[in-house]
């Protein structure tokens, strides 16, 4: 069975969501710039959002209907809003860190090390 010739289904979207999630996790682990870590978080949230939209989609399963119904889209909307809030707070923390330490390297944020 050729996955490229099939009509687009939920599992196609799950593959895209998995790739976005994994790149976000690797981005969070690898980047030393605090804003790079923030971009990794955005990628992770976006990958989860792709999954929610796929589960809530009314068209992706043909006449079988959606799995989550409207819940998937509402959760995706809430994730977008909370990502905006999270980005605002994280940016404020980063700017504060930059003002106090004159760097955005997260490896230098070791003031609390015992």
């Amino acid at each position: 069975m050729n996955p490229l010739a099939d009509p687009v289904g939920v599992s196609h979207y799950l593959v895209v969501g998995a790739i976005l999630f994994t790149t976000g996790v690797v981005c969070m682990a690898v980047k030393r710039n605090a804003l790079g870590v923030l971009m990794g978080i955005e990628l992770v949230l976006n990958g989860a959002n792709v999954n929610f939209v796929a589960f809530g989609s009314p068209v992706l399963r043909g006449e079988q209907g959606s799995i989550l119904g409207l819940d998937g889209q509402v959760i995706a909307l809430f994730v977008i809003l909370l990502a905006a809030a999270e980005a605002a707070v994280a940016l404020a923390i980063t700017l504060n860190f930059y003002n106090n330490h004159a760097t955005v390297d997260v490896d230098r944020a070791d003031d609390l090390k015992g």
């Binding site: 979207y13 682990a29 977008i80 940016l91």
Partner: protein
């Protein structure tokens, strides 16, 4: 032209645009990881999230796609780009990571990706069906979404759930909507408080002016 028309009709356009947007989103997300320059990372992230909005449109969630473009790409990432510009001093534009850390993160990432792909592909519930490429556009989702956010459900229950058998009143999302809105307000007030301009401790912001003293 006569030759190309049956060829055009034979193409599964839904699948074609899905593959286009999926390839754009995934390759640009990988580019975010591989890029060294933080400004380029922000640019690739903008394009990746925009391509994801295209995927949302293709899944029949056009309101979510529009919100993705307006809030995420238009708001959150502009905020992020401002952060990049405010902190983009020359030594911080590209901070190198040690090679050993990169290899380790790549190994962890590939194993996580293998697990996720296995789970996504093997489940028969998620493989079944598929979008009908000849189907017309479905009814817009903005009205059921908006009515559900103010507490009234006008959409059909998902097939197979117990809600579809029980003809009772289904709850909307009024309380989560209020919680999220108050949460957003509190978070933005807190962010404005955290990021306010203040003098750095220890050194005064500007030299004090002495009245009538010797220079």
């Amino acid at each position: 032209m006569n030759l190309s028309l049956p060829l055009l009709a034979a193409i599964n356009w839904h699948g074609f645009f899905f593959l286009l947007f999926a390839a754009l989103a995934c390759s640009l997300a990988v580019a975010v990881v591989l890029a060294e320059n933080v400004v380029r990372m922000a640019f690739y992230l903008v394009l990746s999230l925009g391509a994801t909005a295209g995927l949302f449109f293709l899944a029949g969630a056009e309101f979510i796609g529009a919100m993705q473009l307006m809030i995420y790409v238009g708001g959150t990432l502009v905020l992020l780009v401002f952060g990049v510009m405010l902190t983009a001093q020359a030594p911080f534009v590209s901070i190198r990571t040690p090679v050993g850390d990169r290899v380790l993160a790549g190994l962890v990432g590939f194993s996580l990706l293998a697990v996720l792909l296995l789970a996504a592909v093997t489940s028969p519930v998620w493989r079944g069906g598929g979008a009908d490429p000849t189907a017309r556009a479905t009814e817009p989702m903005a009205t059921p979404l908006g009515m559900a956010l103010v507490g009234v459900r006008v959409d059909a229950a998902p097939t197979g759930s117990e809600d579809s058998q029980a003809a009772g009143v289904r709850s909307g999302y009024l309380l989560p909507f209020e919680i999220v809105s108050v949460h957003l307000l509190v978070v933005l007030v807190g962010a404005a408080y955290l990021a306010r301009a203040k003098r750095r401790r220890g050194l005064p912001a500007r030299p004090t002016v002495r009245m009538g003293g010797a220079p």
